[in-house]
């Protein structure tokens, strides 16, 4: 779960990492008051997308009047598909140098990875590999102060910055551990008047660990439909095509999108109905697909834990409830296949057993294809 910048910074500050003075604002009057108090400020849109500065999501206000005008313009603006609902007014910094630092989990080595560079800032992804220092952390050992000193030395920092940076590394790793972070990143870690300050921050919490972090704010992401399906407990992503798709298992759902594209069609969504979803959630998910008003609905099930007869019952429940006003293509194999196929056949739905054939038919019914 991603955290807004201002929430991430609150957590950094609670661990003693210096952040600039700032305040969350959601009206022009708020912004006016904030700038009167903290002086010239950056007004930063609080949205969960990267590259927001380049997209116009960060503006500078020299005075309170300007803050008011800018806030009026920024509130409600669309930033890469996200609506700006609040800003973070933060004291403008005279930045002398930009450093990059992050702690994340490296799935390949199965260990925490800390990365740092003196070439921080918005172009960090383009920076030459040789300018990035990478150190894996043994989770049994963790980060003791010497580790921070070694990292500071590897970056060539000296004096005050050496000390402040070493200290910050220890704190950042503590946040990563204590908060079950997938990522904690400061970019830029700014040098202002010879001292370090976290000018921007990202904190992503492991969704699976949220149950043990009641102190962390739940942040809603995604479109209305996406939230609706996620509430049912299923994984869903909107795409821009017109063939609505439901499959079981993330890999299978991906393969289904691939198959549609292979035959020249365009998938409208990614929907993983789960490894063992029962009748009710499956029916709800299908209901969501119907509400998307697609050209065709394609259900692709390989029953393992998922039982084909449950899927068939869910389909019939929706068909006889809200109705399915568009062509439906069902591919059904695996556990309790015979029963599922029979239930559907009784109501005039012929199920496919081959994925390729079914995908091709779905594309054909959508009036697309090669």
């Amino acid at each position: 779960m991603k955290q807004y910048e201002y929430l991430a910074k609150q957590i950094l500050a609670s661990y003693g990492i210096p952040i600039p003075p700032g305040r969350v604002v959601d009206t022009p009057e708020d912004a006016e008051a904030a700038v009167r108090e903290i002086g010239p400020a950056a007004l930063k849109a609080q949205v969960l997308v990267g590259g927001r500065g380049k997209a116009g999501g960060i503006r500078f206000a020299q005075n309170a009047e300007e803050a008011k005008t800018l806030t009026k313009a920024m509130m409600g603006m669309d930033l890469k598909g996200y609506t700006v609902e609040r800003l973070y007014a933060e004291g403008k910094l005279e930045i002398e140098q930009e450093i990059y630092i992050s702690v994340t989990t490296d799935g390949n080595t199965k260990a925490p990875l800390i990365m740092a560079s003196r070439a921080g800032g918005v172009e960090i992804e383009e920076v030459d590999d040789r300018e990035i220092v990478r150190r894996h952390i043994d989770p049994r050992v963790g980060v003791e102060p010497y580790f921070g000193r070694e990292l500071a030395a590897a970056l060539g920092l000296e004096g005050t910055l050496f000390k402040e940076f070493s200290d910050l590394v220890v704190k950042l790793y503590r946040i990563y551990r204590d908060k079950d972070a997938e990522l904690v990143e400061i970019n830029p870690l700014a040098v202002v008047k010879g001292h370090l300050v976290a000018a921007d921050a990202r904190l992503n919490i492991d969704d699976s660990a949220m149950y043990r972090h009641p102190e962390i704010q739940r942040v809603d992401e995604g479109s209305v439909l996406e939230k609706k399906v996620q509430e049912i407990g299923l994984a869903y992503v909107e795409l821009d095509g017109d063939i609505a798709v439901m499959a079981n298992g993330a890999g299978m759902a991906m393969a289904t999108l691939d198959a549609i594209q292979f035959f020249g069609g365009r998938p409208a969504n990614f929907l993983d109905a789960g490894g063992g979803a029962s009748v009710e959630p499956t029916a709800q998910a299908l209901g969501v697909l119907v509400s998307m008003d697609p050209k065709v609905i394609f259900v692709n099930i390989f029953g393992g834990i998922t039982r084909c007869d449950d899927v068939a019952r869910a389909i019939l429940q929706v068909k006889e409830g809200v109705g399915i006003p568009v062509p439906l293509v069902v591919r059904l194999v695996g556990t309790n296949e015979a029963e599922g196929v029979r239930l559907l056949a009784e109501r005039g739905i012929a199920a496919y057993s081959e994925m390729a054939e079914a995908a091709e038919q779905a594309v054909k019914l959508a009036g697309e294809g090669r």
Partner: protein, 288 residues
């Protein structure tokens, strides 16, 4: 012949009295797995379908000589269950639950390395060795058949799809391994390929991968020295870009992780790369 899981493996089920644990214990027994016991704290002394239940792994191991365990406990208790198994001498550990915190998975996998324990998962369908008529997992029993093909996959259902298509084409399997869908899992393509390399019965290997991470790229390096033919299918051609983890993800991957990068690396290493799941069996047939 098979890898990692054989007829000799003596299996206990941690969390055997829960719904999932009970159901899949039955399924495993029906397939032929040598399930010698189960654990469920507070329910020691009971029997389920004739299998003795113990309060602790320690007691179960002592009474049964178990050396393998499959874990069905809820995710928040999975780390505890895994450590209990490992500290009591279990050498093959299959972690079924999904939503185990990544830091817990990291702790499990790190300890496993120290103790020489093979961890399958977490968030996996498990492992099945059709030639040995034994499985530790939740996969449907009927879609597999004994034969010369090794299969290693990241995701469950998609691997069922492919295993079943192999079976239907008359291509049975030595062992099918589900590595698990989480960011940190016990196995990677390289470790499983290495096992298949040394299994005389395995004549060809099917890899089922997907976008994201760089496990496939690393496997490519290994395939060059494998000495056995590999067919790879990777899902995610049409998938939306995965969730980006700040800049860190991009810096780690540096252009790896995309489907193009993976397919290119695998092809260059000599693997046969197919673009759709139903093309796998045909490609394998040409090689064996």
């Amino acid at each position: 012949m098979a890898i990692l899981l054989t007829r000799e493996s003596r299996v206990i089920v941690q969390g055997m009295t829960g719904n999932q644990g009970r159901f899949h214990t039955g399924q495993m027994q029906a397939y032929g797995t040598n399930v010698v016991g189960g654990t469920s704290p507070g329910k020691g002394g009971q029997r389920i379908d004739g299998i003795p239940v113990f309060d602790t792994v320690s007691a179960a191991v002592k009474a049964t000589g178990a050396d393998a365990s499959i874990v069905f406990v809820p995710a928040p208790f999975a780390k505890d269950a895994a450590f209990e198994a490992m500290e009591n001498g279990i050498k093959l550990l299959v972690m079924i639950p999904e939503h185990i915190p990544v830091q817990d998975a990291m702790a499990i996998v790190t300890r496993a390395r120290d103790l020489g324990v093979v961890v399958i998962g977490p968030n996996t369908f498990g492992i099945i060795s059709p030639g040995e008529k034994t499985k530790m997992g939740i996969m449907p029993n009927h879609i597999y058949q004994s034969g010369p093909i090794g299969v290693v996959a990241r995701s469950g259902t998609l691997s069922y799809e492919i295993a079943f298509s192999l079976t239907n084409a008359g291509l049975g399997q030595t062992t099918v391994v589900g590595m698990g869908g989480d960011p940190v899992v016990g196995q990677n393509f390289v470790s499983v390929l290495e096992e298949f390399k040394h299994d005389a019965a395995t004549k060809a290997i099917v890899m089922v991968g997907e976008i994201g991470g760089s496990a496939e790229e690393e496997a490519a390096e290994h395939i060059k020295r494998l000495g056995k033919p590999v067919v790879a299918y990777l899902a995610g051609r049409a998938a939306p870009p995965g969730k980006r983890m700040g800049h860190a993800g991009a810096i780690i991957e540096r252009g790896r992780g995309t489907l193009e990068s993976k397919e290119k690396a695998l092809t260059a290493a000599g693997a046969t790369v197919v673009t759709m799941p139903w093309q796998v069996a045909e490609a394998v047939k040409k090689l064996v």
